[in-house]
């Protein structure tokens, strides 16, 4: 299906800097590459059409390529552990996917000579394996999501071994405790890294990953009894015997696995297994790992964790110093696209303003804040593949493009923050260091609303086209820029426009934006469901965010009780609304409903006649606004926000228009009710509406909020000549005027 794909090493690049692109070529041995501007990524014949003009650059040309794969699966690797010859191992484990075969809990293995050892879980049974695949297996079967102490001792010279299993809590009628001893025959200790939750494979990758939590893994010299090793923490008297004892409650914000034993065989966690996870001794008295780190000594490993695909750079573009800020993409092609094969792709990126302000150079007064955190949150969103019943929610057959078929066939590209791991646990980390299949021009999404079916990145290209059509000079900055640079990045802009769905914000991003509006910035909130989830960035690793889907909100998975705090920062995660900062405090309105089938129009509200809002409606006499559009056929759709003074909508906010006539599938979101209602649909619930809103801020600035993801999709209608376009342009022109609002 899809024959070429790739990813950039960054989503935002400044003039003079280099950006690299990593490419997988699925057929043939060469591809062509060129830079394009992104002005419209929607080929819907009902709209203005694709607009991806070539941007000549030094990288235009043909390149050799090859097929590449991501090595998914998280594990711990400790390089300095010596060859283990006469030793014991113990860990506490909480397995989560027993149906998966050949999961290695711990190994020191040489794949070429097939020597060493591994502790394996296969069809729910525990085995100790040594050279050439000799194995001994306990007859007992483990249960999922139950804590066990597992241990073994092994003397490679004599082959003597012991393998033991015991539950931390006994259940009546369950046979899950046992021990076997004997000989596996003489084997050879190997000088290889010690790996937890995986083993090295002959092709150089690490595979056979364990799915589940591991706590307090330890290596000890000599043969120790299970009775001694099953105790947590290990008895102090064993300290002189310790070869290594990794404490996962230490350094939860990092990828370091600290060895608390004398030799300091510190390990490295690869592909971001989940940290800040409850251990076997969680009491329920504490919910933050910072309050009781000893209760959070577990790491949850998954076969489908992926941080960095690690592909080599195929194309590197060093930008000229005068590169213009905007939306760009690397266009890759490996032949003619036809119905059976898509032989081109676009890898988007943004050119941001220079990092250091150049004296004498005047920047545009308008900026578009590219919601790259939201693009990352939705990276490879696969609920149309993994969840059943989504068709009911979409109100139509699930749309699969060539890219979706590729994603189906390549689960190793891993997940979005909406997906669950194969073991059913929620995906709390998402990185951009891998192909992001659904973040591209020309991608039509299964949940993008009837019509153009665009969502997130490609939906935002409708705004790029509109800005170009109206000859607006603007910069593009990204969420990640705002997180790193803070308020100084945006202090000089008069107007900031958001994307259609700016849903995910870190504390630093929230603070910077609020500081800017408090100082007179003019915010044009062009979408819906904004400032909804709190996220965290990692201290050490670039390009990865974390969410904890805590106690409220529209959630495709739920964080476990006690796991609501970000491992990256220690902050309480979940909805900003639950953190005392509802979106209404930022944009005047907040999330109220979602539905993915058809959109609706707005009708003018009495405040539209308020003289304070006269500039908005200049030249617009229509009572009905946005009864057209490329996203669901209306300007109010997908996700809606409305005014709510109880959540922080300011008292001077004007409700200029409200949407109406919503579909039964436009459903009230669950944070809006405490007991389930019989009238959740937009055809029966009066709360389901988008409020087009405006208010002035004390420092002379203002906020204009559309309250709908589909708003942007109406801008291009009728070649940009329509009342949604006119209202938006009227507002932008006034917001660009330095005259204070108050």
């Amino acid at each position: 299906m899809l024959k070429i794909l790739g990813y950039p090493d960054r989503y935002s690049v400044a003039p003079g800097e280099a950006i690299s692109f990593q490419v997988s070529l699925e057929e043939g041995d060469s591809f062509s590459a060129r830079i394009v501007r992104v002005l419209n990524g929607d080929c819907n014949p009902a709209g203005p059409g694709l607009d991806l003009p070539h941007h000549p650059s030094s990288i235009d040309g043909t390149y050799l390529g090859q097929q590449r794969r991501a090595d998914a699966g998280s594990y711990l690797i400790a390089d300095t552990v010596p060859a283990l010859e006469d030793f014991s191992f113990r860990a506490l484990i909480w397995p989560t996917l027993l149906a998966r075969r050949a999961q290695v809990i711990a190994s020191q293995w040489d794949a070429a000579s097939k020597t060493g050892f591994m502790l394996e879980l296969d069809e729910g049974k525990l085995s100790l394996v040594t050279g050439d695949g000799r194995r001994q297996t306990l007859p007992q079967t483990l249960l999922e999501r139950k804590w066990y102490a597992v241990s073994f001792s092994l003397n490679a010279v004599t082959g003597a071994f012991r393998l033991s299993l015991s539950p931390l809590k006994a259940d009546v009628g369950t046979d899950d405790e046992g021990e076997i001893t004997g000989s596996l025959g003489a084997s050879q200790a190997v000088a290889a890294p010690f790996i937890l939750a995986g083993m090295p494979l002959a092709d150089g990758t690490v595979g056979s990953h364990f799915n589940g939590k591991i706590e307090a893994p330890s290596l000890l010299a000599g043969a120790q009894s299970h009775a001694t090793l099953a105790v947590n923490p290990l008895p102090a008297g064993l300290s002189p015997k310790l070869i290594a004892a990794w404490d996962f409650s230490d350094g939860i914000r990092s990828i370091k696995a600290t060895d608390k034993a004398a030799f300091r065989h510190h390990g490295r966690l690869v592909n971001l297994p989940a940290r800040g996870m409850k251990g076997s001794g969680w009491t329920g008295l504490h919910h933050s790992w910072q309050a009781a780190p000893a209760e959070y000594g577990a790491v949850h490993f998954h076969e489908d964790d992926l941080y960095d695909a690690g592909w080599p750079a195929d194309v590197v573009w060093t930008l000229p110093e005068d590169a213009k800020s905007g939306a760009y993409a690397l266009h890759l092609s490996c032949g003619e696209t036809e119905a059976e094969a898509m032989r081109e792709c676009y890898i988007p990126f943004f050119i941001r303003p220079p990092r250091i302000k150049k004296p004498g150079v005047t920047r545009p007064k308008v900026a578009f804040l590219a919601p790259t955190c939201s693009y990352m949150a939705y990276a490879n969103h696969g609920e149309h593949i993994t969840v059943r019943g989504v068709e009911r929610l979409m109100g139509r057959l699930l749309h699969f493009g060539h890219q979706d078929v590729y994603l189906y066939d390549h689960p190793e590209l891993c997940h979005s923050l909406y997906d669950k791991h194969a073991d059913g646990s929620g995906v709390c980390y998402s990185s951009r260091m891998r192909p992001n299949i659904n973040c591209a021009p020309r991608y039509h999404s299964w949940l993008g609303g009837d019509g153009s079916s665009l969502y997130q990145y490609n939906a935002d290209t409708h705004l790029f086209g509109w800005l170009a059509h109206n000859d607006i000079d603007y910069d593009i900055i990204t969420d990640e820029d705002l997180h790193r640079d803070g308020f100084p990045l945006i202090e000089d802009y008069s107007v900031i426009l958001t994307g259609s769905h700016p849903e995910y914000h870190s504390t630093a991003m929230w603070d910077a934006m609020k500081a800017w509006t408090d100082r007179g910035g003019r915010l044009m909130y062009m979408g819906g469901n904004g400032w909804y989830w709190r996220i965290a960035f990692h201290d050490e690793l670039p390009g990865v965010i974390e969410v904890r889907r805590a106690e409220d909100g529209i959630r495709s998975w739920e964080a476990e009780p006690g796991e609501y705090y970000h491992s990256f920062t220690g902050e309480y995660g979940g909805l900003w609304r639950r953190c005392g900062r509802p979106p209404n405090m930022m944009a005047g309105i907040g999330f109220v409903a979602q539905g993915f089938d058809v959109s609706s129009p707005y009708r003018r509200a009495p405040d539209a006649d308020n003289p304070r809002a006269a500039f908005v409606f200049e030249g617009v006499e229509d009572e009905v606004i946005g009864d057209f559009g490329l996203i669901g056929g209306g300007a109010a759709g997908i996700e809606l926000d409305c005014i709510n003074p109880l959540l922080g909508s300011p008292p001077n906010i004007l409700r200029l228009a409200s949407s109406e006539d919503h579909s039964p599938l436009m459903l009230l979101v669950n944070e809006e009710f405490t007991a389930t209602l019989p009238n959740l649909g937009g055809d029966q619930n009066e709360k389901v509406r988008a409020d087009l809103s405006f208010y002035e801020t004390p420092a002379g600035g203002a906020v204009f909020a559309t309250g709908s993801i589909a708003w942007i999709g109406s801008l291009p209608w009728n070649n940009y000549e329509n009342n949604v376009s006119r209202i938006t342009l009227n507002t932008l022109r006034r917001f660009m005027d330095p005259k204070p609002f108050v």
């Binding site: 057959l397 749309h399 579909s663």
Partner: protein, 109 residues
């Protein structure tokens, strides 16, 4: 869970044929929610061969490790026509009755 009644639900068949995607009556919504449930774990999807031009029906197996199966034919040039085709199949499975109306009659076309 609602049980489809071919006699009383017949009234919603025509509503769906005329508007496969859009604001549906509560009765049609109930019918669709029942028809769109497949306890086998399989899932019918619509593969778009050419954007806004060609679609074909595909089936996802219950287990993702198994391949996606594409139906070689028909190739639909109208997405709503594919919706109608799947509706007909599901109606037959639920009621044993064939819906022989074409998606668009000659007059409607």
């Amino acid at each position: 869970m609602y049980r489809i009644n071919p006699e009383t639900d017949q009234q919603f068949v025509e509503e769906f044929r005329r508007l496969p995607v859009g604001r549906h009556s509560p009765g049609l919504m109930r019918l669709l929610n029942a028809l769109r449930y497949d306890p086998s774990g399989r899932q019918i999807v619509l593969f778009c061969r050419k954007p806004f031009a060609e679609w074909q029906i595909a089936e996802m197996p219950a287990n993702r490790l198994d391949p996606l199966v594409l139906e070689d034919s028909p190739i639909f040039t109208n997405r709503d026509e594919a919706e109608w085709e799947i509706f007909r199949r599901r109606w037959f499975k639920a009621t044993g009755q064939h819906l022989n109306q074409p998606f668009r009659s000659a007059d409607e076309a």
